[in-house]
Symmetry: C2
């Protein structure tokens, strides 16, 4: 490894974001946040680290194994670096905003850090934009969050977005209802994750017929809904499935331009969801661009809530690069007042600098301008194209 | 401590940023970043953590004691959480952007984490906005960074900004030139930090006369400059002082509306500066709102560079709160298409939600709207003031 390569080396899954991309990320993030704000979601900002105890309270066990720990020398207590912001927003709702009227609509953006990347998401630091709708358990709330995500993605012009509606709690409900043993649950869950109909059929018990039917019903909402409506499920599971159908029909009725699929037994990646959930995709973007669903804010005994997170890196991959801005080269001797006036008018300027650019003639300044990435130059009190 | 207080407790110096403030911070941050972008400073984003070795390479020893460490289970090497972003930007300039044309102008924003807060700055996490001008060692470059900071602060309307120009390396230059012993340096440095003229005079040696003269010259640029110009300093020190005078005169000539003071022997808080430096203040804001100065990007053998950081928390304290936005309450039954249209037109909406708001009459909806912080309501296809 050369000295340069050694200095440039970052830990796996961490990266420097370079000119162009960093500005684009910030622009898209703020557009998404603006869309959430216009729908009444108030921005909050959570700390990068907090006490392990509060950070992980009520969180899924997986979150704990994904969280870096730090010792706080002030309090001599363990802190964790945030690996997800939803539990932090839930904590804010349950403490500082406990007296704010419900429904409480909150939004956030920020970077999270994880101990290990996944196969599909090798990044260990990534930027999220998210929203939480806290205090309401209705299908209308489930629907609002799905539509909120779609409207935000529409505001940035991300093409060909699709939503996959899921019900990650349904298999467990069915196992409970049919009295499936612990060993059988493991076998069936694995088969569901592999979408292995043959393995499901090979397993014993009444539940397998229902699971196969749910798996086979999965697909575009228009074809899945009639199949799901015909299924007869035990009490509990049946209510949950009807909630899913209700939300799907509400999303379809909203007239938003996104493909809707339903996959009721998809469980992968849902860590704390307790009801209707969803995964967002965009054509030509590998993996998901966001996900969301119903949960309890602040852990199992917390308030009813639903929310969603969007993944900035995936979203940026689905968007065209930003159009490069026009840059105006300011030759040596350009008065500061004129430079400021140009910027105030909206120009992007690149000033020649004594000690760096020593271009004395206009021809030399034009060459220097090109080298500095400018396509305009300020000459004789005018902004003129470089190639004019 | 109640259960609520226990859950809300954050480590000292860390905080939740609540609705209103969080949006305001983001708005001001992006305005500052836009001002830097318009002056040709390209945004980069640095990772939250990186290998300790590269994070602290060439950095001041104080930075090391302020940096939280984490073990990376992937590489089994130590990582540090960023406590300052300038060295990271220097690393990017020296590696990934080593072939980009100079001067290299980079900007960044982000949160840093420190092990211990200071008396004046008890926060341990704080948001910075900054810029680095890399590859040029001239007085013009020193001046550009000062003016860049002032123009950015002007763009957000921060009132009564002042700049204190400093030369934190000057005392050491003088100690070297006058052959001051190690013990005497300590005594003199302490006296300078306390601005204790009597203690300086009491100390022995030729250097004390110069130090007292420098201390007594400190003040508004208009009165300080003539005094400083009269001083005769040994070679090396004299050149540095003339650089300071040169930069001060350039800043004055720029016509920017900020008070300029000069304090050539102020050393406190400059950790890696190697030349002309500055501190930014705003009337009515306790402590500094930013600082900057000349340094070597990537450590002692690195490129000539100068840069500055602005502290978001201090800046926000100097600004009036954001004007609250108009919020339009959307009663139950408002079609999604109409809601989206209102938001696309720029309205901030708060939708009634089945399962939460069950207001059936217009009178009830108006009461509900008020409770949700709205000052408008959408009725009969019109946005009308609530109190009409």
């Amino acid at each position: 490894m050369t000295e340069l390569a050694r200095k440039a080396l970052l830990p796996a899954g961490l990266q420097d974001v370079l000119p162009g991309t960093a500005a684009r990320e910030a622009e898209i993030r703020e557009k998404l946040m603006a869309s959430l704000a216009h729908a009444g979601y108030d921005r909050v900002k959570t700390p990068l680290v907090e006490f392990e105890e509060s950070l992980l309270e009520g969180a899924a066990p997986e979150l704990s194994t994904q969280t870096f720990r730090l010792m706080d020398p002030e309090s001599r207590r363990m802190m964790g670096v945030r690996s997800d912001m939803t539990p932090q927003v839930g904590r804010i709702a349950a403490t500082r905003l406990v007296d704010a009227p419900r429904p409480l609509r909150l939004s956030y953006s920020g970077d999270v850090l994880r101990i290990k990347g996944s196969h599909l998401r090798p990044e260990r630091q990534f930027a999220q934009v998210g929203a939480e709708l806290i205090g309401v358990s209705s299908a209308a709330a489930d629907t609002e969050i799905v539509l909120l995500a779609l409207e935000a993605l529409e505001s940035i012009g991300l093409p060909d977005v699709s939503v996959d509606l899921n019900l990650p709690t349904l298999p467990v409900r069915l196992f409970d209802a049919f009295g499936v043993s612990r060993d059988d649950r493991e076998v069936l869950t694995e088969a569901l994750e592999r979408r292995d109909v043959a393995a499901l059929r090979a397993a014993d018990g009444k539940v397998t017929g229902v699971l196969v039917a749910l798996l086979e019903a999965a697909g575009p909402a228009q074809s899945a809904l009639p199949k799901l409506k015909k299924l007869e499920l035990p009490l509990g599971a049946s209510e949950e499935l009807y909630r899913l159908i209700d939300v799907a029909e509400r999303v379809l009725a909203s007239g938003l331009d996104a493909a809707l699929t339903i996959d009721p037994v998809e469980m992968a990646g849902f860590r704390y969801q307790t009801g209707v959930s969803f995964t967002l995709f965009a054509r030509n973007v590998r993996g998901e661009i966001g996900r969301g669903g119903r949960y309890r804010a602040g852990g199992a005994s917390g308030e009813a809530a639903t929310g969603m997170s969007l993944y900035m890196d995936s979203i940026l991959r689905g968007l065209p690069d930003a159009e490069p801005v026009d840059r105006v080269y300011l030759p040596l001797g350009t008065p500061q007042r004129e430079a400021r006036k140009l910027r105030a008018e909206g120009h992007y300027t690149v000033a020649a600098l004594e000690g760096a650019a020593e271009a004395k003639t206009e021809a030399a300044a034009r060459i220097e301008a090109q080298g500095m990435g400018c396509n305009h130059i300020y000459i004789g009190g005018q902004v003129v194209p470089l190639n004019a």
